[in-house]
């Protein structure tokens, strides 16, 4: 139950990151295609139902909420296909130029992940504490760990792509491509191990990754300030500089990881 609400919170943080990021990026793209409003709508929806879930103390799956999460997940998957198509149709197909400057592949995947986390939360909500719930054939804690591992490594891959585009001109730009992959590996390990033991190092590393999400916003704010005119020219530099809302995706995913850890460690009590 507690874990389920934590998952609502994780989904909320992720949805908020995506909402802000896609609002800025698609505004930058002048909403040239009407479909570019879609991620705003669904991430706002995911954010709304997550807020609802966080306040909801009932140990039952909420059908409407779950439906909204599934819709979010499907939209993310469709966005992924759409962005991939956008990259492929550019001159030269899949090359660095198009990966750097075409539609970002990783962004819609974050929407899908927000939906998946929320939906996972709904699925484990109605189970009694000591009844093993399952996600994709794995016990819920391990399944969630696998999902988080995937999300963290994917987000790290996207930050690698964009920080490589920025030539890692500041050494701190290596942080999101070094710390989170370790968190991802630790979560993958949890997905593999039987549930029920304590994992203080994993907890610590997830905390660090969650913190990195906030720290990243500060670094990106500094990055915006290094463009011509700095923050005085925020209307241009917010759009063209490093994306402020992107790093908290790590925070959302780490919160989901902590929820998974709660379930896994709770098994010790059995």
């Amino acid at each position: 139950m507690q874990a389920a609400r934590e998952l609502n919170r994780a989904a909320a943080v992720l949805a908020l990151s995506v909402l802000m990021d896609s609002a800025i990026e698609h505004y930058r793209g002048s909403f040239k295609n009407k479909a570019m409003f879609t991620p705003l709508a669904v991430s706002a929806l995911a954010l709304g139902v997550s807020a609802h879930g966080m306040r909801d103390q009932r140990a039952v799956t909420h059908g409407l909420r779950n439906g909204a999460y599934i819709l979010t997940g499907l939209t993310g998957a469709a966005g992924l296909a759409f962005h991939t198509y956008n990259v492929m149709k550019r001159t030269g197909g899949i090359n660095w130029q198009n990966l750097f400057y075409g539609a970002p592949i990783g962004a819609p995947a974050a929407i899908a992940m927000s939906g998946a986390l929320g939906s996972a939360g709904e699925r484990i909500r109605h189970y009694a504490p000591f009844t093993p719930a399952h996600i994709w054939g794995l016990p819920s804690g391990r399944g969630l760990a696998a999902l988080t591992s995937l999300g963290i490594i994917g987000t790290s891959a996207e930050s690698f792509l964009l920080h490589f585009r920025g030539a890692f001109h500041n050494p701190c730009m290596y942080l999101p491509v070094t710390l989170p992959p370790i968190a991802s590996a630790l979560m993958a390990r949890l997905a593999w191990l039987p549930e029920g033991s304590r994992h203080p190092w994993t907890r610590l590393w997830l905390g660090l990754t969650a913190f990195l999400g906030f720290g990243g916003v500060a670094f990106h704010a500094y990055g915006v300030n290094r463009a011509l005119g700095g923050w005085r020219n925020w209307r241009q530099n917010m759009l063209d500089g490093p994306p402020l809302p992107a790093p908290p995706a790590f925070t959302g995913l780490s919160l989901a990881g902590l929820a998974a850890l709660r379930i896994i460690e709770a098994k010790r009590l059995v």
Binding site: T91, F100, F164, R165, L228, D240
Partner: protein
């Protein structure tokens, strides 16, 4: 925006122990100054790609250096406007006489009068030579061999690329392996995508152009924001010019830069060694003593200074025992094919040449010598109107109507190798300019090989334009750009002016370090090669000084 009161083209800025801080509006940086009576290690005439780079290398090597430039010391953030006419202040527009079968158009992008030289307005295209070009006579059967080895140059290219944080493709498709460009390539604009599409249709390779403008922050340079006025002066400092890279480093290492200082004569004593330079600053001719003099005034001003410094001992001008000073002037063919796209292109957004192909530099199945690259284009409006006037003879209502298609203009422009010919030259005339110095006469004629290459390029680029469904296609067949060759380097004092170290054969403490030393041009823009040569010369001078060979 606060702007300094005095006109930087009339009153020198680099005085009283300080020089303009190019990164801050109204800012200053401390500058060491040398007395004219003090014999400095190096007096460098010109502060562009050659002189600016060498000033930095020598100052960082511990030498005392004074760099002279006839132009102003600009602060791009406060002095540069988004206006082509205003920005013609960056060009060298003093009197010249041009003749020959194909007279050069001087006073535009092929010259520069500013601290930083023409790198202040260059298109930032930073390419390496094809290795074989350094031995084009023995390997490819035309032109001349350079006294330099490409493997050594590869190292100095890397140094120059790092110093300028060149933003280029992750892997470069032509030539031997090179290190990864320090910064990633910029986002291609629609004009660059048009080039790429044309290349794919023609079955040849293309890539993003390696450019000297940063795609991410670098020190006090903010990332390029695609304003598009690069070729009339970058007002944001994203451009990595000599003014924003080498010269700030030189100042930090103790060099002095004297702006608005026109050097008119290099003094040579009875022993046949250079003793300093005569220069005009603030209305008076002055003399700076120096142990070594470096001439880096580019392919017209360099021979003009050497020829004008003639004395009874060297009646034909300095460093001219070979008779080659001013001879073998070269330019590059810069012809273009233009057309209209049905989609909006807005080619003027971003740096003008974001994509290129070097296919015809590396493919030798051609019926002429040499090679060419071609690049996507983004002409600014006044330049575009001028092109329409000169190439299509449009005027009046017709020109106005045609300018309404400006957003749809797409074009491909070549940078092609022209062969060295003795008849192409710079000589002095009896006429005097505003400094009282003899006006140079610049003679240029194309040879049959030049014409064959231009025909090939125009034909090929036209096919590439047709392949992307451009319409109203026309050729611009008269343009040329970079200059080279009037003080060429070589292995033999009888057939060259300087040796591989840019040291003149005749006067051991007189050096020439700019585009004039190129024996051949290659089919790429010269700035990176000039800077690589300057880096090498700096290292060679340091090594010779250690061995007491200066």
């Amino acid at each position: 925006m606060p702007v300094s009161a005095a006109d930087p083209q009339k009153t020198p800025r680099a005085v009283e122990g300080r020089a303009p801080d190019v990164f801050r509006i109204g800012g200053w940086v401390p500058m060491r100054q040398y007395a004219e009576s003090e014999e400095v290690d190096f007096a460098i005439v010109g502060t562009g790609a050659g002189g600016g780079t060498l000033a930095c290398k020598l100052a960082e090597g511990g030498f005392s250096v004074v760099g002279f430039d006839a132009g102003a010391y600009w602060r791009p953030l406060e002095d540069f406007a988004s206006d082509e006419t205003e920005q013609s202040k960056l060009y060298w527009t003093d009197d010249r006489i041009v003749d020959g079968e194909n007279p050069l158009q001087l006073g535009g992008n092929n010259c520069g009068k500013a601290v930083g030289g023409s790198t202040v307005h260059f298109a930032m295209v930073s390419l390496r030579f094809r290795p074989e070009w350094f031995k084009s006579r023995s390997v490819m059967g035309y032109g001349l061999d350079w006294p330099l080895d490409w493997r050594e140059m590869w190292k100095y290219y890397a140094e120059a690329e790092e110093a300028l944080k060149i933003a280029g493709p992750v892997t470069y498709p032509w030539g031997p392996k090179r290190p990864r460009y320090p910064y990633r390539a910029h986002e291609m604009n629609a004009a660059a995508h048009a080039l790429a599409k044309g290349c794919e249709a023609m079955g040849i390779g293309w890539t993003e152009t390696p450019l000297a403008t940063v795609s991410a922050p670098r020190g006090l340079s903010s990332p390029c924001m695609y304003r598009g006025f690069c070729v009339v002066g970058c007002s944001t400092n994203a451009k990595q010019s000599a003014l924003t890279t080498w010269i700030p480093r030189a100042l930090k290492a103790g060099a002095e830069i004297r702006d608005l200082s026109m050097v008119g004569r290099v003094e040579v004593d009875a022993s046949g060694k250079a003793t300093g330079v005569h220069y005009l600053r603030e209305g008076a001719w002055r003399f700076q003593r120096a142990k070594n003099v470096v001439v880096a005034g580019y392919a017209i001003e360099t021979p003009r200074l050497l020829l004008n410094s003639a004395n009874p001992q060297f009646p034909n001008g300095l460093a001219n025992s070979s008779g080659l000073v001013g001879k073998y002037l070269m330019t590059q063919s810069n012809q273009a094919v233009w057309g209209l796209s049905k989609d909006e292109v807005r080619s003027y957004k971003g740096p003008p040449s974001l994509a290129l192909t070097e296919h015809w530099n590396y493919d030798d199945k051609k019926d002429f010598f040499g090679g060419y690259a071609y690049m996507s284009q983004g002409p600014l409006p006044a330049m575009w109107a001028k092109t329409q006037m000169s190439s299509r003879q449009l005027w009046g209502a017709e020109l106005v109507r045609s300018m309404q298609d400006y957003n749809h203009v797409v074009g491909l422009k070549m940078v092609g190798e022209m062969l060295p010919q003795e008849r192409n030259q710079v000589v002095l005339t009896g006429e005097k300019d505003q400094y009282g110095l003899p006006v140079p006469k610049v003679t240029y004629s194309w040879c049959d090989n030049d014409k064959a290459m231009i025909r090939h390029a125009l034909g090929f680029m036209r096919q590439a334009m047709e392949a992307i469904d451009a319409h109203d296609i026309f050729d611009q067949d008269d343009d040329t750009n970079h200059l080279y060759g009037t003080a060429r380097m070589g292995d033999d004092p009888r057939s060259s002016v300087v040796n591989a170290d840019c040291r003149s054969w005749d006067i051991p403490n007189l050096w020439i370090c700019d585009g004039s030393v190129f024996p051949t041009t290659g089919g790429v823009n010269p700035s990176l090669t000039i800077q690589a040569i300057a880096c090498r010369t700096g290292d060679r001078i340091k090594a010779m000084a250690r061995r007491g060979e200066l």
